[in-house]
Symmetry: C2
Subunit: 335 residues, 2 copies
């Protein structure tokens, strides 16, 4: 039997060499929150930072997976290696509902230059974004030049993940009225690139005009003098392009490639990439620390008689929730 | 000058007597995270648990405020006192964008039986849901029989707030395609009541059929035998009604009142209200504890040289984020 430390360093080396099976194993370790997974990320971290990480967000059903499939095809034709990370936060009772999407990526399953992985939500206690960010680092370390991260949904965990991408793409389709309202109200942040997929629809151009209206308002509020978001802001001197695509037949996807490249050139030239990554890494450290504190607390409280008693008092309206929380935090730390 | 403790107990008494100015002051204390605010909630907490708390969620622009205004009118006509809490998570550069919504509630501004308050997002560090939940308790303690909580948006903070309501209403309008997709994919949880507002639209009935389709699928997955969500589940034996309204002229609002009352009767009869509240209070204690741990960590790290050095190492790819987080957590606690 190989000693664990030795096995780890072998796995790390194979990962850095781009071995697909090592990559798959490594992501599983991270997903299962195994100490070896974290150890591995630690070992390969110095080799990260090279991949162009593009995050895709938007409501379910707009065709994000199909779009990523079409994009992957073009990137492969240009000789680049691709990693795709699909974050699926669907609730337990619809698990598998999104399988259809993933099948659309299947034409790439046999291509060694494409690595596709989906990660499922691991319950309300969080941990998904933590694991997804580590998985993105592993894809980067394994030499994937393009890393596409796809999230379905709208929760904080998905926003956290997408925020760590170098370029953020919002994918909509004609009929995405709710998302446009959310952009308009400032509830959803302005992305770097907007795609209107399924653009073979009579209402597409109306939608483009609506989005242009929202963007021009956001730009007015983002004059560099005010510097509301500083140089790392997502609007600033970058003019957010709107790209019309029909991912299912490839229409518009070459233009999307061009816009993604332009955005990368822009953030490199302006120094925004480094600033954005520095800010994101700082947030990641804090997020991991917070998630661990919460997990530690949950573990301490599992089956804890004092906690049960505190909760009972809260339910009986004898003790308010904040006082109960304070009592928990004031307990001596577990040995 | 009155001693603080004395002032507090006076404020608590005035609050319990239903004094509006005391209520306004109390919510401000909680919103500003002042210790007196927390102390006050502690004092009045034994008098809470009486209000019927209804949470309204849904994309911006569907008319939630108008609907709550119309609902408030009917509740007032029935002699009930009402509190409205509007949670506005709009980003800093669109602050005030939702002011128009609030004006629609203005016909109630002079009515002593209606108390309206909006709370704004206080940045990424969280704290909003914590403060909003305390504010809801204060409204309850002040004798508001109906507490309507409205959130705009889709973030985790808003979901946390709405989850604490006794009855959850999802408000949509014709054109809310993204939300229906999110329901279908299981990304958005099934609420207790669905309202289609602005129902004077030719596509309303198509939308009702679509939603019925989603609900029947969700019900299939929720057979009591499987008990995926247990008795506290949002579907279970309750058949989620779809109510068509035109809030601006009151159409359909009496039916909504009836459905809300039916839901309350249902959860009381089945014991679900107590179960739901017990689960929510437990989550609230944990959420407050976690938020405080995070805040404590952020405060400790503000201007901390060791933290800065750790982050620099992470940015230079010499130390991975998880190891930096672990190093932070292993530091001796601040005195």
């Amino acid at each position: 039997m190989i000693a664990p430390a030795m096995a780890d360093s072998t796995l790390a080396q194979r990962l850095l060499d781009g071995d697909r099976r090592a990559l798959a194993r490594a992501i599983s370790l991270v997903e299962d929150d195994r100490p070896e997974g974290w150890e591995l990320v630690k070992q390969v971290y110095p080799h990260t930072g090279k991949a162009a990480v593009v995050g895709f967000t938007g409501p379910p059903g707009v065709g994000k997976s199909t779009l990523i499939g079409a994009l992957t095809k073009l990137r492969r034709e240009a000789g680049r290696s691709v990693g795709v990370l699909s974050i699926d936060p669907s609730s337990p009772f619809t698990q598998g509902a999104l399988l259809g999407d993933r099948i659309r990526l299947s034409e790439h399953f046999l291509d060694q230059g494409v690595f596709i992985r989906s990660m499922a939500n691991r319950g309300a206690l969080g941990g998904l974004s933590e694991a997804a960010l580590q998985a993105a680092l592993l894809l980067d370390a394994a030499g994937r030049q393009d890393v596409f991260v796809e999230t379905v949904g709208v929760g904080q965990a998905e926003i956290d993940i997408i925020d760590h991408a170098d370029t953020i793409v919002l994918v909509l389709m004609p009929g995405s009225g709710d998302s446009i309202q959310a952009l308009k109200a400032g509830v959803m942040e302005i992305p770097d690139v907007i795609v209107i997929n399924k653009a073979d629809h009579p209402l597409t151009d109306t939608m483009v005009r609506e989005i242009r209206g929202v963007l021009s308002l956001a730009n007015l509020d983002h004059t560099p003098e005010e510097g509301a978001h500083g140089p790392e802001g997502r609007v600033g001197s970058w003019r957010v392009p709107i790209v019309k695509t029909e991912a299912s037949n490839g229409t518009g996807v070459p233009e999307l490639v061009q816009r993604l490249d332009e955005h990368r050139t822009h953030i490199l030239a302006e120094g925004h990439l480094d600033e954005r990554r520095a800010r994101n890494l700082r947030n990641e450290v804090l997020a991991i620390a917070t998630a661990r504190m919460r997990r530690r607390l949950e573990q301490e409280l599992h089956g804890d008689a004092e906690f049960k008693s505190l909760i009972e008092q809260v339910i009986e309206r004898r003790l308010d929730p904040a006082s109960a929380a304070a009592a928990l935090l004031e307990r001596p730390a577990a040995p």
